[in-house]
């Protein structure tokens, strides 16, 4: 029997459950409430110990909801419920209703949600709750530092990045973000979230239309590629920022990328060259010999399909065929996976499918 990696139950959570706990149903301040049991099936004959506390807390929670009680004890109970199951969105709703009904101190709530997120940072509800509190306080002053804290534990936490982007856009907090992104990329140049953030910051501040900015970005990206050539994010970024202008017409780009081939080769580099050649063909660029460019592109597609990126051979064969069909001077090339030609075509396809 091979060992299985268990779903993670937070150690603190488990400890909490196993400890001696003074059940709510036994507390005299709660005696007036009739606990409401979970209602999605018959109760089991034998209850397992760790579910006792859970049942107790949530039975009480349901009782409070049923009576629509808005009290301090209800507020305290939401914290217990959240500790047991922070993904239960109804508990968070109720807590927000109580925060407003009881006019609770929102600064205290910020401390609370900070602790909860630090404990369980991969949960939609906790981040949405934090956003609501920030909105109510209209105070983003702690946010960037807090998110940086969370990202220092997991630099790709999708929720954390959403929150960060929201804060920056809502409160116009753009200063220092590019520096922050660079720090993250120093730590892990393959952090796709950080590359996305780089695009986000620049798009919303200077933009890419200034040629000095664009050149700075191109050089920055090429430098990162030299450090770690097998980096999808860097190549995607380079492609993304140059799309509008066109890869083949960017001065010196072909030379710089070709130069990298010896020491920094990767399927991404080869793919980038294919894109660049395709752009040269599409724009009918006078700086490129059209036939030679087509041949080079086809050669690279073949290299990728047969050797360097075989898992994506279908894609590379598709690119090859498209290039042939669009820019080649011979008969159209088809494959078994292409849709059949329209019935109004003059001749049936006679080309064999790809080897």
């Amino acid at each position: 029997m091979h060992s299985k990696r268990l779903k993670k139950i937070e150690p603190k959570q488990f400890y909490n459950l196993m400890c001696l706990f003074f059940y709510f149903r036994d507390r005299k301040e709660w005696a007036d409430l009739e606990p409401v049991p979970q209602d999605d099936g018959p109760n089991p004959v034998v209850k397992i110990a760790y579910s006792e506390k859970f049942t107790d807390v949530f039975d009480m929670f349901r009782a409070l909801l049923k009576n629509d009680e808005k009290s301090e004890r209800a507020f305290a109970l939401t914290a217990e419920a959240i500790e047991l199951n922070a993904a239960n969105y109804t508990v968070w709703h109720y807590r927000r209703v109580l925060l407003q009904a009881l006019d609770k101190d929102l600064r205290e709530e910020m401390k609370y949600i900070t602790a909860i997120i630090e404990d369980q940072p991969k949960n939609y509800q906790v981040w949405h709750h934090r956003r609501m509190v920030v909105e109510w306080l209209n105070d983003p002053s702690e946010e960037l530092q807090f998110v940086a804290e969370i990202l220092s534990q997991d630099a790709k936490n999708y929720h954390a990045w959403q929150h960060r982007q929201w804060v920056m856009q809502e409160y116009k907090l753009w200063d220092g973000e590019l520096e922050y992104v660079e720090e993250l990329l120093e730590e892990d140049v393959r952090n796709n979230s950080a590359w996305n953030q780089r695009h986000f910051v620049i798009s919303h501040t200077s933009g890419y239309s200034d040629s000095a900015i664009l050149e700075r970005e191109v050089q920055y990206t090429l430098k990162q590629i030299k450090k770690a050539p097998h980096n999808e994010s860097a190549w995607n970024y380079l492609n993304g920022i140059l799309q509008d202008g066109g890869l083949s017409s960017y001065p010196g780009l072909l030379e710089q990328v070709t130069e990298l081939q010896d020491t920094c080769s990767s399927p991404y580099l080869t793919a980038f060259l294919v894109d660049l050649y395709e752009d040269a063909l599409e724009t009918n660029s006078s700086s490129y010999d059209q036939q030679e460019t087509l041949n080079k592109a086809l050669e690279l597609c073949k290299l990728l399909a047969e050797e360097k990126d075989t898992i994506r051979r279908e894609y590379w064969n598709y690119v090859s065929r498209s290039l042939q069909n669009t820019y080649g001077s011979g008969d159209p090339v088809a494959s078994s996976s292409d849709p059949p030609p329209p019935s109004s075509s003059q001749q049936p396809d006679t080309e064999p499918s790809d080897p």
């Binding site: 060992s3 409401v36 209602d39 993904a87 109804t90």
Partner: protein, 346 residues
């Protein structure tokens, strides 16, 4: 290719001299489809209602039921589930505002409204709930910029755009929202790499891409997608193990076999994936003892990954499984009965 892999540290392997984040499939991993075991696993799931994990997941129960029923239907085993009990349960979960909650005593939410409508479509029992009120609820969540909130608390996410149109499509009421604005918002979430995130400028993510391509299919706007660019980004999710990840430099997970594969099917580029390698990854995620699928080989199974493993295999053409619709993740025969044929690119 296994000989090119040398283990460096946990889940980081060296392939042809460079670090690749991936898993290694052990030689004794399952390599045949164990449908009967999966059916037994799902049929028994939730019958032990004191199970901690089951209790913990009450907040998503409606979706849990949808995952279980759908995978059972795909395996031709729907009759083993308790139809009457489930329909009664759903009726108890519709609130006055029309929205449907994950479970009794929970608040309504778009996610669980969609799951409920999907379940009732499977059971051809849509009219046990107040359909007009569901439509009102969905309409009421559309914002000025065309986006949809998940519930009255206002979280915005393209997942909810998908939930909204999928729900209305299944009810035959797509014309009740501001379609142009809804489309405009989703398209504003298209990124420089051709992918989509949860809000404008959010990082491209396979789960969000599934929601957005599904949305654009339902709303007849797939021509707005850059299919070659997005298809390339999606097929780049395939790792040497054959599994798919959700964004660059992340580990493979069987649920991405659905999000990525369904997206590729929708945009007409499913053949860009190495199908044989993906199939062997998915099969390796099975648990031969308990039945069910885990996120990756060797981990604990759950109904969520079981559905997406089986649905992924269906998309790859496994004939032991019913054809699955890539937009709705429901059996094709159910959608035919409902009369829905969402566009796919060829």
């Amino acid at each position: 290719s296994l000989s090119l892999l040398a283990e460096s540290d946990d889940n980081n392997f060296i392939l042809q001299g460079t670090q690749v984040k991936d898993v290694i499939i052990k030689p004794d991993a399952p390599n045949t489809l164990l449908l009967d075991k999966h059916a037994d696993y799902i049929a028994a799931y939730g019958s032990k209602k004191d199970d901690y994990e089951y209790t913990l997941s009450e907040y998503l129960r409606m979706s849990g039921i949808y995952w279980g029923l759908t995978v059972m239907d795909l395996m031709g085993q729907l009759s083993r589930m308790n139809r009457e009990e489930i329909i009664e349960f759903i009726k108890s979960c519709q609130h006055d505002c029309g929205g449907i909650s994950a479970s009794i005593g929970h608040d309504p939410h778009l996610l669980y409204t969609l799951s409920a409508v999907q379940i009732l479509s499977l059971y051809d029992s849509i009219n046990v709930i107040d359909v007009e009120k569901v439509v009102d609820y969905v309409k009421g969540l559309q914002q000025e910029d065309g986006s949809f909130a998940g519930d009255k608390w206002g979280e915005i996410d393209t997942r909810f755009s998908f939930c909204a149109v999928a729900t209305l499509a299944l009810l035959g009421k797509l014309d009740e929202i501001n379609m142009d604005k809804a489309v405009e918002f989703v398209l504003s979430c298209m990124n420089f790499d051709g992918g989509f995130g949860c809000r404008p400028d959010s990082e491209s993510h396979a789960g969000q891409i599934y929601c957005c391509t599904g949305f654009l299919s339902i709303t007849g706007q797939l021509h707005k997608v850059n299919a070659d660019l997005l298809g390339w980004w999606l097929c780049e999710r395939q790792l040497p193990s054959g599994g798919l990840n959700g964004r660059p430099e992340k580990l493979p997970d069987v649920c991405y076999s659905w999000w990525v594969l369904a997206s590729l099917k929708i945009i007409g580029r499913i053949h860009w994936i190495d199908k044989a390698k993906l199939r062997s990854f998915i099969l390796a995620c099975q648990d031969e003892e308990t039945g069910g699928f885990a996120d990756r080989p060797g981990d604990m199974v759950d109904p969520f990954h079981t559905l997406f493993g089986v649905a992924g295999l269906s998309l790859l053409g496994d004939e032991q499984i019913k054809p699955v619709n890539p937009v709705f993740c429901m059996p094709e025969d159910v959608l035919q009965r409902v009369g829905l044929q969402p566009d796919l690119l060829s």
